[in-house]
Symmetry: C2
Subunit: 352 residues, 2 copies
């Protein structure tokens, strides 16, 4: 496997592909000149977008992909009939050792299925899960699943808890002394509250000896409070919670803008507080949290929001670069290996 | 039934009861001197809280309730054995015509069960649902269910859509010319995306002739965008989405505060932009959206957040006053009556 910062880009996934993908790569390339991009997609369109970007041209190798996976492509079609799609060729680059990470803003379900088919699941893992960082009062927390699995059972949630804790450890690298704290997202913190399957997952997490500190249930507002390091939920709820938070963030920026437009004095004094605003805006811009990692695989795959622009896509690329630099894949594998040893007496958990 | 603005208050429900309940009533009483409160709870404690509030004393009648429903009271216990609880006596006041509305910050599940037992379900309705207003770019939207039903099937979601549309119409009163638009909360807008039960509910809503305009799926970020008048989801997802939005709002206010503390210039010029900030803060304070209405009942029941303070509780009381003034109960019953006539050929929808 290459030691270089080589990233395989699915240039054709997402609402504004390939434009935002190429622009995003240009932004990331300015920040990380050492990064190299294998860009898979429509050669002609990508070439015309590259035209003016001299510095990017040095970092990019364009690999023509004659096929594209669209939002309306069926899963079966995507897996069986589009062997030359930009997404598939990007995965191949990783399995063949030409790149370390796949980054795509394409269809989540297809991305997950293709990741399983090409990168392979880690031993004992039943399904990959999408994990991302979310902003909290304390800094950030890891949240999963964000949409890879819309229907889950209690064992899936237990596996997500384990994978999330591993991810949190990999991110914190050697700074972590204690096991990460994990909370299950629910409608109340009391033991009797919530769905049957959530209560079953909590029971299992309480009884099992895992390399994490299970803190029981957490509620929606606890995410931003940062009460735990890892928030575990099913992909349906996680996806909706994440997007609701993003929508709220955008609405509140809009309210702030309106408040300052309303008063003449406020408008006049805006330039005095501009730098404070910029700081606030940067911190609350959902694009700066774009990029989720598909956990549970032998390789690294980063999913960008389907509707992300260049700034958002660049952020997903930054996560990819961080993942390579810190060898997330190796660290997670190591952690899973340790876990399996310690679970020798409870193999049912990981085998499902 | 009384024409007066008489509200039955469960003074013992919620994390900081009865303090925040009495303080909230005092705030509401200042704004609505015509409102009258029947306050059910521990007479001695309420009396001591009332002590200093002369103006409130005129608006309040204290009714001693020797029993209290706590967060750890079981549903069975609450329904069968605590006939003299503050919550139960508040409901009795409405069924006996002494008050028009019940307001409680108590346990959601027990509140719902007790509401069904005392106020009775509207004909054809299977389960009540909690609905509330959420802030949007356009103003506000109705969202339900917010936690009354953590496990739902497709028919429940269809009923929630109908009840939500009725509620939206009752709120808009005579200003609405078109049927309200309704969206089902999902992980994507494409027809094939999401959970099986969501897709089944969408199928039903598309095929049925209902007094609403079904717009298909909406995503988490569409809530704040205000793309539909009514957002329909199950009580688990709705509760988590709502609380996540509230947590995000609080976090972003905190970020704003920090941004202004960081820069000396910003701190110095803060007073110039103070009024703009106040406007922003008021608009983004989750307490100003507190209060959800339990729909599907013959009478009106308002649920306040369990952790709401006096400001939040006063907001729930304001919703109660608005509900009485606009005869929400009568309007919703009227609308349901019309719906049942129009559904004479499809009774299965309402009968479930």
């Amino acid at each position: 496997m290459s030691d270089r910062l080589t990233i395989a880009l699915d240039a054709m996934g997402g609402d504004s592909a390939p434009d935002s993908v190429i622009e995003g790569a240009a932004l990331a390339s300015q920040r990380y000149p050492e990064a190299e991009f294998l860009v898979f997609g429509d050669e002609q369109r990508i070439n015309s977008l590259m035209g003016k970007r001299k510095s990017l041209q040095q970092a990019v190798t364009i690999c023509h992909a004659p096929e594209v996976i669209r939002e309306d492509t069926s899963l079966l079609q995507a897996l069986r009939k589009t062997r030359l799609s930009s997404m598939r060729l990007a995965f191949n680059a990783v399995t063949e050792g030409r790149a370390r990470v796949v980054v795509s803003a394409g269809h989540t379900g297809i991305l997950m299925a293709m990741a399983k088919q090409t990168l392979k699941l880690l031993p004992g893992i039943r399904r990959p899960a999408l994990a991302s960082f979310v902003p909290t009062r304390q800094g950030q927390a890891v949240m999963l699943d964000l949409g890879a699995n819309v229907e889950c059972d209690a064992d899936d949630l237990v596996q997500f808890a384990v994978m999330g804790a591993m991810f949190s450890r990999a991110v914190l690298a050697d700074r972590a002394t204690d096991d990460p704290t994990v909370g299950l997202l629910n409608v109340g913190v009391e033991e009797g509250k919530g769905r049957v399957l959530i209560k079953a997952a909590a029971d299992k997490l309480r009884k099992m000896s895992l390399p994490l500190r299970f803190k029981g249930f957490v509620e929606g507002h606890d995410i931003a409070e940062g009460v735990v390091d890892v928030i575990v939920t099913d992909g349906f709820t996680g996806n909706i919670a994440l997007k609701t938070a993003e929508g709220t963030a955008r609405l509140y920026s809009e309210f702030l803008r309106r408040a300052f437009h309303g008063s003449l004095l406020a408008r006049a004094s805006y330039h005095l507080v501009r730098s404070a605003f910029r700081k606030f805006k940067h911190r609350t811009d959902p694009r700066h949290y774009n990029g989720a990692m598909l956990l549970g695989l032998e390789g690294i795959c980063i999913k960008s929001h389907g509707n992300s622009d260049a700034v958002g896509f660049a952020q997903a690329l930054e996560l990819a670069i961080m993942a390579i630099r810190n060898s997330f894949d190796e660290r997670i594998k190591q952690q899973m290996g340790k876990l399996q040893l310690s679970l020798a007496y409870a193999p049912a958990v990981l085998a499902g």
